[in-house]
Symmetry: C2
Subunit: 301 residues, 2 copies
DNA sequence: ACATCCATGCAGTGACGCTACATCGTCGGT
DNA sequence: ACCGACGATGTAGCGTCACTGCATGGATGT
């Protein structure tokens, strides 16, 4: 019973297919298929079943994949047990973040980790739909993800470390009629042009929730995922938008107005696979990330 | 990080050397040495250090061996998770027992397991010194071992399942002056010839404890490990002996007399490695063994 | 001082897993 | 309804890696 084969099974489940899993594992689909076949032969139970032109794990396969997580955790714990005897933690950690989170957190993270020495942090920005964040943990060690208030990550085989909660404010141009107010309520926002994010992305339906509070449907004229672009559009008078308080606000032509009457916000979490969460270097980086997030939330601009 | 290499490290620790571990694992010492070298190279820490002409695990090696137990447990749990989807548990389980325990427990164990079908039980008798019982778990799945009152098994990486406690009675020939008594006290036993077990074996020092209760040192004339041989010698008038109540007593020429005033007994346990204890077939056999032991202790002859 | 025991290094060989390619079944498009 | 595309699975060939066998070095006890 090879740990690599178990890992492969786990990846096939999380990626939803042989081909996708092969891409993540840097293998050919054939190799993945052979590993599954060997594993199935060893335990004497079919682990996968064809459905359409893809496949799905059987109940036994699902149980084995669950157990595979524990195996991976135990193996990484073993590695960490030895790494504790090294004078200082060493290695490289891959961190990804959605754009606005990356702008807020990655620079201070790197400056905080640098003096530790020996730890290499590889950053990347990954903007994906809400449902696709967990699967990123197969390619990246620490995934900085965000979710709107109320949404929850699937608990299965995923470690979630909360970083910060960020209110969503209404961003208006400085010459807007509401710009002088110190806060606005949903009713003030009828008959406005909105700049929203793409469907399926984390804070897409927050705007809907705000609008239902005033009984109208918002008029969405643009769909921009990158908040800094949205901010520039707001400043230029092409509409108003919902922007996170700590991340946005850098643009001189934009005013951020707190929303009264509705609770609108998003939570930023770090997502990790349980096994990578056991790695010593990963834990060091994660600690730094938590500290950086606390600073960012406690000292908003 | 291979589970087999971790297993090897664990075995080197429990067997106390490369050669012994190689014998247990059916490998050459060279292969074991190479596995350790590869493992050490992978974690970047020396796992073993030479001491005399043998070797010993370093602190890091010890920590890794501890973690290796958890890995093995997780792997076996994974196997069991799949085995649960098989219609009935299948496989072979190796059981060993010291002689008297084997005579008492193995026959009913086999008859109880047989109707389950698909489970093969391979029995062997293993009479070793008290300290050597735990190491047997590397070669045998379930080790039926015994220990005198007060002794404890080393907790490290060993699962202990108590089976029964058995008082030690004084065995005398039927024509002995004490044969008519319904119990004896230590003072009655001065000036007797004793048949004891070899030094280092489980109940060796019980006789000493009984003797100190009467202030004398026992006169040991024979050292016989097999209780049925000792029983035959007692019947022939060559001395008296301490025999376990449930196991002995089959010989018509011997009377068993309970000891008053001192608590003399032994405990019979099943010893398993934590990982083999997770195997489904092993658990089935173990359940049967516990039931058999309860019957044997509850219905003494 | 020598024989013995134990762990380790090195060359040869066998097995195992991967890549590349071909095949089969299934699903959309015209 | 056919055809093209996609996704998973077998097969041949190859490379790699781990094990065996033997030789070496160090430590022990007679």
């Amino acid at each position: 019973m090879d740990v690599r084969a178990l890992e492969t099974l786990r990846t096939v489940r999380s990626q939803g297919g042989v081909g996708a899993a092969a891409a993540v594992l840097h293998l050919t689909p054939s190799a993945v298929s052979q590993q599954l076949a060997a594993l199935s032969r060893e335990v004497g139970v079919p682990l996968t079943e064809r459905v359409g032109r893809g496949l799905r794990l059987t109940a036994a396969g699902d149980a084995l994949a669950d157990a595979a997580v524990d195996v991976a955790v135990a193996v990484e714990r073993a590695r960490a047990a030895c790494a504790a005897f090294l004078e200082r933690p060493e290695g490289t950690v891959r961190v990804s973040a959605f754009q606005s989170g990356a702008r807020l957190l990655l620079p201070p993270l790197l400056t905080r980790v640098a003096p530790l020495g020996g730890i290499t942090v590889e950053c990347s920005d990954e903007d994906v739909a809400l449902d696709d964040f967990p699967a990123l943990t197969d390619r990246v060690d620490v995934v900085v993800a965000h979710r709107p208030d109320g949404a929850q990550w699937p608990a299965a085989g995923l470690r979630v470390v909360p970083l910060l909660r960020e209110p969503l404010d209404v961003a208006v141009p400085r010459d807007h009629p509401l710009a002088g107010r110190d806060r606005v309520s949903p009713g003030d926002l009828d008959d406005e042009d909105w700049i929203a994010v793409r469907e399926g992305f984390p804070v897409a339906n927050v705007l809907g929730a705000v609008a239902t509070a005033s009984g109208t449907t918002p008029r969405i004229v643009h769909r921009i995922n990158d908040f800094s672009i949205a901010e520039a559009l707001v400043a230029a008078g092409h509409g108003i938008s919902l922007l996170p308080r700590f991340t946005g606000g850098g643009h001189p032509g934009v005013r951020l107005l707190p929303l009264a009457g509705v609770r609108a916000g998003r939570t930023v979490d770090a997502l990790l696979r349980p096994d990578t969460a056991e790695r010593l270097v990963v834990r060091r980086v994660l600690e730094a990330l938590v500290a950086v997030a606390a600073e960012a939330a406690g000292r908003p601009r």
